[in-house]
Structure formats: C-alpha cells, structure tokens
C-alpha cells in the first residue's frame, strides 16, 4: 500500500506541529540575545585576547606585555571606558557617601564574574591572573 504526501497520517501531522514549535522556540532564543554594540564587541574581544586587562581598582589598562603591539583603537577604548567608569563610580560614591576608590574595587570584584573568558586581571601585587 502506498501513501502520498497529500494525505498525511494523524501522527505525521502531530510531528509537523512539533517541528514548527521547535522552530519558533529556536527563533525566540536567537532573537532574545539581542544585538551587541560595536564597542561592546571590541571591548570583549580585546579582553579575551589579552590586549586589554581589567584591574583590581575597577578600571581597564593595556596589559603591559601587549603594550608594544596594542592598536590605537584599543588605547582609545581604554581611555573612553575608564572615563565612563570613573563618572559612574564617582556618582555612586557620592550617593552612598563612601570613598570612590572603594566603589571601584567593589565593581572590580563583580567584573571578574562578567568579563569574558581569557581576560587578564591585575592584582594589587602587580601579577596578572587569567580567567
């Protein structure tokens, strides 16, 4: 006995519905991640590759061994990120009546968790630890 595609069995129709549901789910997951800005991508890629390092005080720097090969774009990014972080730390310090240096260090402990794998962290003693 031959079956044709024009008359699917009920079981097949159920499977097709499931496939559509999966497709919708995949689409929603991909769309939900949202677009990353160019600066966000640049910062993450410079950190993952070890050009830009995070510091214990809550700011970023060109990692010392990478300094001779660091592109101007990375240096500019460090300046911009630090200026924006400093403004934020200062605001939070004033709001809570605590020292701005303490705010930076607190942020540093949180940045450790969110920075991409591969990021170097400068410790107070001068050593880098890599995530």
């Amino acid at each position: 006995m031959r079956r044709t595609f024009s008359e699917p069995r009920p079981g097949m129709r159920w499977l097709a519905g499931l496939l559509v549901a999966f497709a919708v789910l995949v689409g929603a997951l991909v769309a939900g991640s949202g677009p990353a800005s160019a600066q966000e991508r640049a910062l993450d890629s410079y950190r993952a590759s070890g050009v830009i390092a995070e510091r214990f005080d809550g700011y970023v720097e060109i990692r010392a061994p990478a300094a001779p090969i660091a592109p101007a774009e990375a240096r500019a990014l460090v300046e911009e990120v630090n200026a924006k972080r400093r403004a934020l730390y200062t605001r939070r310090a004033e709001e809570s009546d605590v020292a701005v240096e303490q705010v930076g260090k607190l942020f540093a402990t949180k940045i450790v968790e969110t920075a991409p794998v591969g990021t170097f962290f400068l410790q107070p003693g001068g050593d880098y630890v890599r995530k």
Partner: protein
C-alpha cells in the same frame, strides 16, 4: 515508514538546534574563582553590591 524515520531525524535535529543557544549562554558561567585580593569595607559592600551588579548589566559597553 521511511517518511516516518525521516521525520524523526528532523525532530532530533530540531531538538539539538533548540538546545544549542542555551549551552552557549551557560558556557562562560563555569565556576572560575579569581581572587583579586582587594579589601572592601563591609559598609560599601552592603550599600552598593546590588547596585554594582545592576550597573554592570545595564552598561555592557563599558563593562
């Protein structure tokens, strides 16, 4: 029967594809412990810990 098997393979592939983004999201969340050796006053931690987490999440351009 061949059609049925084909549909099952498609289903398995779709299930695999559906799982993939979840795996990618969870990959960097491995328990990596890096101790920065910084001293932070308990007062600062209490006042600002939650705020710091929110700020970092809301400004991915600089964090």
């Amino acid at each position: 029967m061949a059609l049925h098997r084909c549909a099952l393979i498609l289903l398995a592939l779709a299930a695999l594809a559906a799982c993939e983004p979840t795996v990618r999201v969870e990959a960097p969340r491995e328990p990596i412990t890096i101790n920065l050796n910084v001293k932070i006053d308990a007062e600062v931690r209490v006042k600002l810990e939650e705020q710091a987490e929110k700020d970092i999440k809301n400004a991915p351009d600089i964090f």
